[in-house]
């Protein structure tokens, strides 16, 4: 057993398998949550019969159905690019999980530049989207892909800038380090040391900016213009079917989980919860915080209409980026002064 764990490559394979398994499960759970929550928000019941109770097996059944479908490639499509695109999307999202700390030890790799890595890996998915849009030989797909690219450029900046505030405050870019910094007591109330997550330590604006930008990164309503089913049919997904569509689908929901995990690590204290042992309860605490954020994302989607592409751009450039810059300046000032 230890021989397997000691060997770098076998350990790596084990970790990859584990992450993939966890990610698939989590995606299915989020898909189910979305089906159910959206249904009840519309006074429907949603999935009901699959799996016997509450329709819990609906996402699995959907997945099985998708896998059985024919894997269509349009005649004019750029075949290799078309086929490769969903893998890029899925791999990009998967790669983010490398640095998500579930507890002080339960992390695939505690990189020193964890935050930087997460943001870089997270934006790979958009390349996949652009590939899908371009190679589909479909005008709607092309427009969807280009919208996605424009959106990435506009929203990657506020996303990064929002995180800079946290990095300044924590003084480290390692994800574990940021959580530990939030676990450190801020002040003492009598004998008890009070520690606060960064959202309560002046990074509230940063959190809001991060969440808005994350929604745009994930192409979720109100920023789902690349898909925009009423305008562009299904955007870059129009020509996809079968297993490749499933990969996009899983990638989207895994992306929601990844972004929520990063946001809760950076702003909500990650696996740390006062009074609970991080080593044992860490994963549960993180899952709880992620669950809250995922609910928020689903809730927003089923309430709001979508913006227009140019409105989204002006929102990013005129409001979010200046606000994020001010946030950085203020945070840096406080860090230096106090």
């Amino acid at each position: 057993m230890s021989a397997i764990l000691d060997n770098f490559w076998s350990l790596l394979a084990l970790k990859i398998l584990l992450i993939t398994g966890v990610m698939m499960t989590v995606s299915l759970v989020i898909i189910f949550a979305e089906l159910k929550i959206s249904a009840h928000m519309q006074s429907r019941v949603g999935p009901y019969f699959a799996g016997g109770r509450y329709g819990w097996a609906q996402p699995l059944a959907d997945g099985l159905k998708f896998i059985q479908k024919e894997d269509l490639v349009p005649a004019d499509a750029d075949r290799p690019v078309f086929k490769f695109a969903p893998m890029v999307v899925l791999a990009g999202t998967l790669a983010v999980f490398v640095i998500v700390p579930f507890s002080p030890d339960l992390v695939v790799r505690n990189l020193d530049l964890g935050v930087f890595y997460a943001l870089a890996a997270g934006s790979i998915g958009t390349v996949g989207v652009l590939m899908a849009g371009w190679s589909s030989a479909n005008k709607y797909s092309l427009m969807g892909g280009l919208r996605a690219a424009a959106q990435l450029i506009a929203y990657e900046l506020p996303l990064v800038l929002a995180v800079v505030g946290v990095v300044i405050q924590a003084g480290t870019m390692s994800m574990v380090g940021i959580v530990e910094a939030q676990a450190a007591p801020v002040f003492h109330l009598g004998d008890t040391a009070i520690s606060l997550p960064y959202i309560f330590q002046g990074q509230f604006i940063g959190f809001i900016i991060f969440m808005i930008a994350a929604l745009a990164e994930l192409n979720r309503t109100p920023f789902d213009m690349p898909i925009a089913e009423s305008e562009l049919v299904m955007g870059y997904l129009t020509e996809y079917s079968g297993i490749r569509f499933t990969m996009f689908f899983l990638g989207e929901y895994a992306g929601i989980f990844a972004m929520s995990a990063i946001a809760s690590t950076l702003f909500l204290g990650g696996y740390y919860f006062p009074g609970l042992d991080s080593a044992t309860f860490g994963p549960l605490v993180l899952m709880g915080k992620v669950g809250l954020l995922v609910f928020l994302i689903i809730w927003l989607r089923w309430t709001l209409p979508r913006l227009r592409e140019d409105q989204l751009q002006s929102f990013a450039w005129k409001w979010l980026i200046p606000l994020a810059l001010v946030n950085i300046a203020v945070t840096a000032t406080f860090k230096v002064v106090f």
Binding site: H40, M41, Q42, S43, W299, T303
Partner: protein
């Protein structure tokens, strides 16, 4: 009209509404498990009282999409009185109604002068094969049991 107020207030109001709906009872009827009770006047399926039909063909003629097929023949009845003239009576051989064509306008029910056709609110007669949507005399007769009494009227 909504006036300009705190930015984001409209979004918050909408989100409050969806959250409220999330925790209220759903209005779904689980169809195969529980069934909606149709109103007595609902135009579900047409029932035929074959005994009352006199093969007058009015329904078949008035039907806007000609989905009723009727065939009949004359039968000689014994005279009602001893020594009288034998009477001829039209007998129904075939009464088919093609529900694949029917547009549920109810004109046939209305024009029938002898009360042979009725509306029934039954609705569960979908078929996998379109030719099975042609209901013959017996099938239409079965629906007759489901015809409800007319509803009470508003005074």
């Amino acid at each position: 009209m909504a006036t300009r107020s705190v930015p984001g207030l409209g979004i918050v109001k909408g989100m409050r509404l969806t959250l409220k709906t999330l925790f209220t009872k759903t209005s779904t009827i689980h169809y195969p498990l529980e069934k909606e009770v149709p109103v007595p006047r609902a135009r579900g399926v047409i029932a035929l009282d074959a005994d009352a039909c006199t093969v007058c063909m009015l329904c078949a003629r008035e039907c806007p999409d000609w989905c009723i097929y009727i065939e009949g023949h004359k039968e000689m009845q014994p005279p009602s009185k001893e020594g009288g003239r034998p009477r001829s009576r039209a007998t129904l051989d075939r009464f088919d109604l093609d529900y694949a064509l029917c547009m549920y306008c109810g004109i046939c029910v209305e024009v029938c002068p002898f009360d042979a056709l009725f509306w029934s609110p039954e609705y569960e007669y979908s078929e996998m094969n379109i030719t099975s949507m042609l209901h013959d005399q017996e099938r239409l007769g079965v629906w007759l049991e489901t015809v409800p009494d007319p509803p009470a009227l508003e005074s």
